[in-house]
């Protein structure tokens, strides 16, 4: 099994995580050993085996297409620290640099 090349900074961008120097040091130490550890699964013969996504054996679970009034809108928005009247307020989406420069 070949050793994976792991780019911690690239994975951090994909994960939406800004890492501190301490985080990076810790992850550089642990990440390769975790990936090695779970990589042993590649040695198990699964050529004839299907994947398991879920274990309920339930399929095509439908419910009646009934319209039910939803009364919690205000309570949900009020639970957020980012709100404007009855709406969530999100950060600007256009003016964005590299998140790891902040």
């Amino acid at each position: 099994m070949k050793k994976e090349r792991i780019d911690i900074d690239r994975i951090a961008v994909l994960s939406n995580l800004q890492l501190s120097d301490k985080d990076r040091t810790s992850l550089e130490k642990d990440f390769a050993s975790i990936v090695d550890f779970v990589g042993e699964l590649q040695r198990v013969d699964t050529t004839e085996t299907d994947v398991t996504n879920q274990v309920t054996d339930l399929e095509n679970v439908f419910r009646a297409d009934d319209v039910v009034p939803f009364l919690h809108h205000r309570a949900i928005v009020e639970g957020s620290g980012r709100r404007h009247e009855s709406l969530f307020r999100v950060p600007g989406v256009f003016d964005d640099g590299d998140p790891h420069d902040a």
Partner: protein
């Protein structure tokens, strides 16, 4: 009244209420006093709903005084792991990123327990989002083991297990994704059950790994755990994965064990390193034999793959489930002076603890282009083999008996390597991956620290697990 109500189990409290020997208020005040006196040393709670539970107790006493029938869980005071939603109480999942969030609704398990007359006393500590086996990885404070405060209570439902063991509540709710109810139950000397996956609704549970998350009871006695599970289980329209209603099978009572074939899987016994655990296990098996069971050696060859499989699938699912924490809809809002990606990455980097960051990163890696087949899909295929292993072994035995943990509770701060912490669940993960029910029950004491024994049964055989556990422990 001189009796210490915190020493009674739920059934005894129910009887005492019925006989008018005590009131709901008496029970609640006894627990609140115990918490004030002793939780400072243990740290099992993140939030105690003192005012709320006092008001609820008075209201229940008034209803009983007005002639209402005693509800099935009357007298049960429940502590709830802080990743389960209770309307108006904080729900942090042990994480600073959810600080300040209070859900506007009850989880289905909570509304069902309330309807059955149980009261909720507060929210218990956990490893952040359920990621850990010691409750040291809470974003707030570690919880200590009530049997020895220099040791961990296990995790991630360590706050719930410690609260039951310390007499701060009648019973507690935990969640078990890869062992997080059973392992702390074993370390704290209480009963902890992981039900068949999807027997109990997950609506209102803060998701960790959705294909394995379950809500399970922790209690002093098997009978109390059974009473909670009976109320919580069943189809929920709000959780489409819950199983259709099932009938309960007749209780097997004291003869539960007679005639059963019970397997002792060698891969589990090979992993035991602590002679006390081995002795307790042998003594427990001896009791099963004496009760009329046939114990046979058996093998689950995929057992060594369970931890690596779990530590691919769980982080993968968690990386997806935890993507929603960006400060907009829940919890701490973060800064407001930069673009959205920067704001999200800064908030998440600053507020998630090290273990969630590690697992989000591992999950993102194993799901990313070029790696998913080698890691995520490979683990999904090995999961099939693990599931088939259980199906095959359950063709020849009715039940499995294993130690719950390889050792007794370990000292705080003694497990620092993430892989060593992951290995704590070596007897737990396979049942989680297969979705089968399993219970940890306290074995006869060997010294001061508790030891748990695990019973595992086929999917849907929750009653069998409870029957055998109840007849073996005598409660």
């Amino acid at each position: 009244m001189t009796r210490d109500l915190t020493k009674l189990d739920g059934h005894a409290l129910h009887a005492a209420l019925g006989a008018k020997e005590c009131s709901y208020v008496d029970i609640v005040e006894a627990y609140l006093k115990a918490i004030v006196d002793r939780d400072g040393d243990i740290g099992s709670f993140l939030f105690i709903d003192e005012d709320g539970i006092r008001a609820a107790a008075e209201s229940m006493d008034a209803r009983l005084a007005a002639g209402e029938a005693l509800p099935p869980l009357a007298g049960f005071v429940i502590a709830v792991k802080d990743n389960i939603a209770i309307k108006g109480m904080p729900a942090t999942a042990g994480s600073r990123i959810l600080e300040g969030y209070a859900p506007p609704y009850d989880a289905t398990v909570i509304s069902r327990l309330r309807a059955a007359g149980a009261l909720m006393i507060g929210k218990t500590n956990l490893d952040e989002f359920g990621m850990g086996a010691s409750t040291e990885q809470s974003g707030f404070h570690p919880t200590k083991n009530p049997h020895d405060v220099s040791r961990v209570p296990g995790g991630s439902s360590g706050g719930s297990a410690a609260a039951v063991a310390a007499g701060f509540c009648t019973a507690a709710l935990g969640t078990d994704t890869g062992g997080s109810v059973r392992q702390p139950a074993a370390f704290c000397g209480v009963v902890g059950m992981r039900p068949t996956y999807s027997l109990v609704s997950r609506y209102g549970l803060i998701a960790l790994a959705s294909s394995m998350d379950t809500v399970g009871p922790l209690a002093r006695t098997v009978a109390d755990a059974r009473a909670l599970l009976a109320v919580m289980s069943g189809h929920d329209p709000a959780d489409a994965t819950t199983l259709p209603e099932r009938g309960t099978s007749p209780r097997r009572g004291k003869t539960a064990v007679k005639g059963l074939r019970i397997g002792m899987p060698k891969e589990y016994l090979d992993g035991v390193t602590d002679s006390h655990v081995k002795k307790a296990y042998d003594a427990f098996c001896g009791r099963l034999r004496a009760s009329g069971a046939t114990l046979v050696d058996c093998s689950l060859p995929t057992t060594p793959h369970a931890i690596p499989t779990y530590y691919v699938l769980m982080p993968a699912e968690a990386s997806s489930n935890l993507a929603r924490y960006d400060g907009v809809r829940f919890g701490h809002p973060g800064r407001d002076d930069l673009g959205h990606r920067t704001v999200y990455a800064h908030l998440r980097g600053g507020r998630f603890g090290m273990e969630p960051k590690r697992r989000i990163m591992v999950g993102t890696f194993t799901l990313s282009e070029g790696y998913a087949d080698r890691y995520y899909h490979a683990a999904q295929r090995v999961r099939t083999l693990i599931r088939e292993d259980f199906k095959r072994v359950f063709d020849t035995v009715d039940l499995l008996v294993t130690p719950a943990t390889p050792t007794v509770a370990f000292p705080l701060g003694s497990v620092t390597d993430p892989l060593d912490m992951y290995r704590q669940d070596m007897f737990m993960s396979a049942a989680s991956l297969a979705g089968v029910p399993a219970i940890s029950v306290p074995a006869a004491g060997m010294g001061t620290l508790p030891i748990g024994i695990q019973l595992i049964a086929p999917q849907g055989s929750d009653d069998l697990v409870l029957d055998v556990a109840e007849s073996t422990t005598g409660n």
